[in-house]
């Protein structure tokens, strides 16, 4: 039997399991052994969830390939081309993502996967990175505008970028990674040392998160009150991990349920809203050139 739907005592799939038992019994009554064998594989697939449920778990694995994630039912989210604000991409290139969610009372995590033929993890001239983002209303009970929030309707966005994942996994990526054969005869670092050479990098001195050299998380916490207002939060609490499978991305984004001021504070038992955005860097997606999904309910199991 496939391990994808394997049950364990902790597994948050009681409904699906009951469904399996009922249907399996029916199938066994009419089928041959072989047919039942095939039927079981089909029938053990849980019913597609009607909305996203963050199931309670003991621990939440950061690894998106962990079985604690892959055995969970996927919640499919159809994506739309963002075409309310300019600029927008000419065509939809990521039609669907699949989401799973877990929480453990302290943290909540989202497992997002989508198909992508190529891994785009380099951030360089005319080259863009794959990325995905989760959006929550800062006030979980409020109806914030899906358009990255609005005045007095702030949203908390957590964005994972493939280039940031490469920074975390391999060390800060730079021009040498984008252009391995480049030659720079006298970079300032070699002439005056790292600290003095900082003055040659205005974005570094200005504290721009794009230029961060000490990244430990591939996910940024951001706040927005409408298109174009995206701002990196001063206190970074989100983490994550993304893996390119050869056919697409599997990404985990994890955040404390209580991440601090001006960010979304969640608790078990509530239902709030969640929205998503996804970018295919190879297709030129970046910024507003993206796929997005409208708000959907997010139920956090007690």
């Amino acid at each position: 039997m496939t391990s994808e739907h394997e049950q364990t005592p902790d597994a948050p799939q009681a409904v699906s399991r009951r469904s399996f038992l009922t249907k399996a019994a029916g199938a066994a009554a009419v089928g041959t052994t072989l047919a039942v064998g095939i039927g079981l594989r089909e029938l053990t697939r849980p019913e597609p969830p009607t909305h996203l449920v963050a199931h309670r778990a003991g621990t939440i694995p950061l690894d998106p390939e962990d079985r604690a994630w892959t055995r969970l039912a996927k919640w499919p989210v159809p994506m739309l081309l963002q075409n309310l604000a300019t600029p927008f991409a000419p065509e939809l290139v990521v039609p669907e993502i699949s989401v799973r969610a877990l929480h453990n009372g302290d943290q909540i995590a989202f497992h997002i996967e989508w198909e992508d033929a190529g891994e785009d993890a380099i951030d360089a001239m005319a080259r863009f990175r794959d990325a995905v983002a989760v959006q929550l209303p800062v006030d979980p009970a409020a109806n914030a505008a899906v358009t990255m929030g609005a005045t007095n309707q702030p949203v908390h966005i957590m964005q994972w970028r493939a280039a940031w994942q490469a920074d975390v996994d391999l060390g800060r990526r730079g021009v040498k990674d984008a252009f391995p054969n480049m030659y720079h005869d006298a970079p300032p670092e070699a002439l005056m040392g790292e600290e003095a050479a900082r003055q040659f990098y205005p974005a570094v001195v200005a504290g721009n998160p794009m230029a961060r050299r000490d990244r430990t998380s591939p996910v940024d916490d951001l706040i927005a009150v409408g298109f174009g207002s995206l701002t990196t939060h001063e206190e970074q609490t989100a983490n994550g991990r993304g893996v390119f499978t050869g056919k697409g991305w599997r990404v985990v984004i994890i955040t404390p349920l209580q991440p601090g001021a001006d960010k979304t504070r969640l608790s078990p038992g509530i239902t709030t809203s969640i929205a998503f955005a996804v970018w295919n860097g190879g297709a030129g997606n970046r910024g507003a050139r993206k796929q997005w999904a409208n708000w959907s309910p997010l139920e956090i199991e007690t």
Binding site: A126, F200, N208, M210, R286
Partner: protein, 376 residues
């Protein structure tokens, strides 16, 4: 979209933001006839601002050879392909700007150069427009076979396409001097500005992952000193000062005098609609048709005025003041064969003679019984 007045087009045009002209606008004049493409400006800029890792390919200032040189490769060809041939009727542009011709989903009609486009900064250097046959003797203007140099920096446009394209308003135009800057704290590296700029003068830093551009040496300008590319120019082809608003003409201002009074200095590809603030005295030896394509319909008048410079003391005097002082010259006057430049307070910065005293020696040196190579 708002209706804004673009004096270079002679009409209102569509722009994403309301017109808000700065208190004063920094502007440059480049005399292409004096440029020898020594690239001293390029090196001065490069060594001052873009010697960091990730900036290797960046030339905020570059000098390219027309017709076959460009940085990035083909930037002007691509622009002309996007906009189509310029259309002018009675000095009014009737074609669409990069804003008015933006396709659905775009703020600006632009294109994004790849690393290959940026890889050949000296492509076409010193290449003439065609083969020079054996025995060719060039004895008239414009030349049949020609090339000319085009020095380029950010135009610090009145209606910047980079600013219009940024979806998060990370590019701003300073109200005090019109300098256009990328906010290094706010930029998220989308490169929309790189794609939008018709002149391709915003560049992506491969190390910092944000866009960067010519900053008009604002720390110098704030102290009343001209930018590095101007003060380093050994050919004295450049001047930087302030241009008055379109409805105002100050004949004592060096920029106003050249742009609005004598009208010898013209914007580059004005039909793009950004109202660039670098003005060029066109190369008089290049074919007029080509020059009209580059600088608009007023080329003939500009070239003819420039060719009469020997009889025009004011124009000659101002051209002699180019490169004569590091300070920003706010006004100038020509009197009794002397041209004088003044700072903002009216204090004299420099005086130069319109004609250098010369002594011409005999071609044959009888004392040493030889011919002289240099007789002036």
């Amino acid at each position: 979209m708002a209706d804004v007045f673009n004096w270079q087009l002679g009409r209102d045009m569509q722009y994403p933001y309301q017109a808000e002209r700065p208190a004063r606008q920094i502007a440059w004049i480049f005399d292409t006839n004096k440029c020898i493409a020594c690239q001293t400006c390029t090196v001065a800029c490069k060594s001052t601002w873009t010697s960091g890792t990730g900036q290797e390919y960046m030339l905020w200032n570059n000098v390219e050879t027309k017709p076959f040189g460009f940085f990035p490769t083909g930037w002007d060809v691509e622009l002309l392909n996007l906009l189509g041939p310029a259309k002018w009727e009675g000095g009014v542009s009737t074609g669409n700007t990069v804003f008015e011709s933006a396709p659905a989903g775009e703020r600006v009609n632009g294109w994004l150069p790849t690393s290959e486009h940026w890889a050949h900064p000296n492509i076409g250097e010193d290449e003439p427009s065609g083969p020079v046959e054996r025995g060719t003797y060039i004895d008239k203007l414009p030349h049949d076979t020609w090339f000319s140099y085009l020095a380029r920096i950010c135009n610090h446009c009145t209606y910047p396409a980079c600013l219009a394209a940024c979806p998060r308003q990370a590019i701003y135009k300073r109200p005090e001097d019109g300098i256009v800057l990328v906010d290094q704290e706010r930029c998220r590296g989308y490169q929309e500005c790189v794609a939008a700029c018709p002149y391709k003068k915003v560049m992506f830093n491969n190390e910092s992952r944000v866009s960067e551009k010519c900053i008009a040496c604002f720390p110098k300008i704030e102290q009343g000193i001209q930018p590095q590319c101007v003060t380093s120019c050994i050919g004295r082809i450049r001047i930087a000062s302030f241009i008055s608003a379109p409805e105002t003409v100050n004949p004592q201002s060096p920029i106003d005098f050249l742009v609005k009074v004598r009208k010898v200095a013209l914007p580059l590809y004005p039909q793009a609609g950004t109202e660039p603030n670098v003005y060029y005295i066109p190369p008089i030896h290049a074919p007029r048709e080509y020059l009209r394509q580059m600088f608009g319909p007023n080329v003939d008048e500009a070239v003819e005025t420039y060719q009469q410079i020997a009889a025009d003391d004011e124009l000659l005097g101002l051209m002699m003041l180019f490169g004569s002082t590091e300070r920003i010259m706010h006004s100038f006057a020509v009197k009794d064969g002397i041209a004088t430049g003044y700072d903002e307070d009216g204090t004299e910065l420099v005086s130069v003679p319109l004609r250098e005293p010369t002594f011409i020696r005999e071609y044959f040196d009888e004392v040493h019984n030889t011919y002289r190579q240099n007789i002036t």
